[in-house]
Symmetry: C2
């Protein structure tokens, strides 16, 4: 998505140097993908080895001064999630953004993620509903591909903020596929409006008192 | 999806009795969900505990005479996948059905799943492309929500069969949400045709010589 494939991670005195994806060096990345020899290689690692790497990604990367560190996890409540929560705890993380799709099957999984956050003492910044309706580019009619409103109901039920719904937008996926800048190209798309409103709410979330 | 929530697993001499979802008792299920006290409970388990349960689900469930045992795993190449492959190896599994969505980001993940299958000696029955195009119910025009053809290209590149593409179908998701029988209700939908053609190819896959 960020056109960073094949880039390499270097060592410096402060640890691994993350990969910068823009000219202005405002966004830096770290991924196990940068450490593999071949991009198709499977990371067939058991829990303890993954946990160690997750800790290293927090402690041993020369992140420098950051405004935000975003950790994109797979779905679930497993080793990776526990390791990330533990590694970040000393840094007082702002919290978790929990993403669901609208259908009941997904909402059920995400309900368990919310229980996980509660158990591990991680604040929930809010719930995002992704793939929320599809506006046909041919006739402009909106269809709820996967039903709708599950995310908002989940947030209300769990007593956490609802951050917003992001519609399915073929323009967004095409831009990402081709590594183009969605914001520059489609400033009026419904997906962009939804995403920037969500980002704004996250930015307004106050740090937690420790 | 199968309207089995809240059902309980009982013990018999042969082990756990799986949950039957139809009157004719042709489909039986086992899930960690049946063993939890509350449906929202998060299974915050590390690898070794999960591995033990996966082994039990193969060895300690009174499955009886089965035509097929389908193991639905989360995406990834982690503890769960290794545990499932190891537990099933003595039973000579038919192989893995690898599901992707069409966009490059997903295809990249799935390429690593294929490497995992190769490493662990699991035959790949084939690749399925899910969410492959959306037929607007208002104007009947088809839009490639997430681009298209990634799954087929992936299969060709990896030298494994391509089993088919399943379009996004709001009727299918609505039926699943409401626990209705999609096959009975929508026998002419494109998603049903795609799914039954895929099932047919899987049924025709010969057992492996051991």
């Amino acid at each position: 998505m960020l056109q960073a494939q094949g880039r390499a991670v270097h060592q410096c005195d402060g640890g691994w140097v993350p990969v910068f994806v823009d000219q202005e060096q405002t966004v830096s990345l770290m991924s196990v993908g940068f450490l593999l020899e071949k991009p198709d290689e499977a990371v067939v690692w058991r829990g303890p080895k993954k946990n160690a790497l997750i800790k290293q990604f927090v402690a041993d990367v020369a992140w420098g001064q950051l405004d935000y560190l975003v950790v994109d996890t797979p779905p679930g409540t497993s080793d990776e999630h526990m390791a990330a929560v533990e590694a970040l705890r000393p840094h007082s993380p702002l919290g978790a953004i929990v993403v669901t799709t609208p259908q009941a099957v997904s909402v059920g999984d995400v309900r368990r993620e919310l229980t996980f956050c509660k158990k591990t003492g991680l604040r929930v910044i809010g719930v995002v509903e992704n793939m929320s309706g599809f506006v046909c580019p041919h006739c402009a009619e909106c269809t709820n591909v996967f039903s709708r409103g599950g995310g908002e109901e989940l947030a209300r039920h769990a007593g956490v903020p609802f951050l917003g719904s992001v519609p399915l937008d073929p323009k967004l996926t095409r831009s990402l596929e081709e590594g183009r800048d969605f914001i520059q190209e489609f400033p009026h798309s419904p997906a962009f409006h939804a995403l920037s409103a969500i980002a704004q709410k996250v930015l307004e979330t106050p740090a937690q008192l420790s």
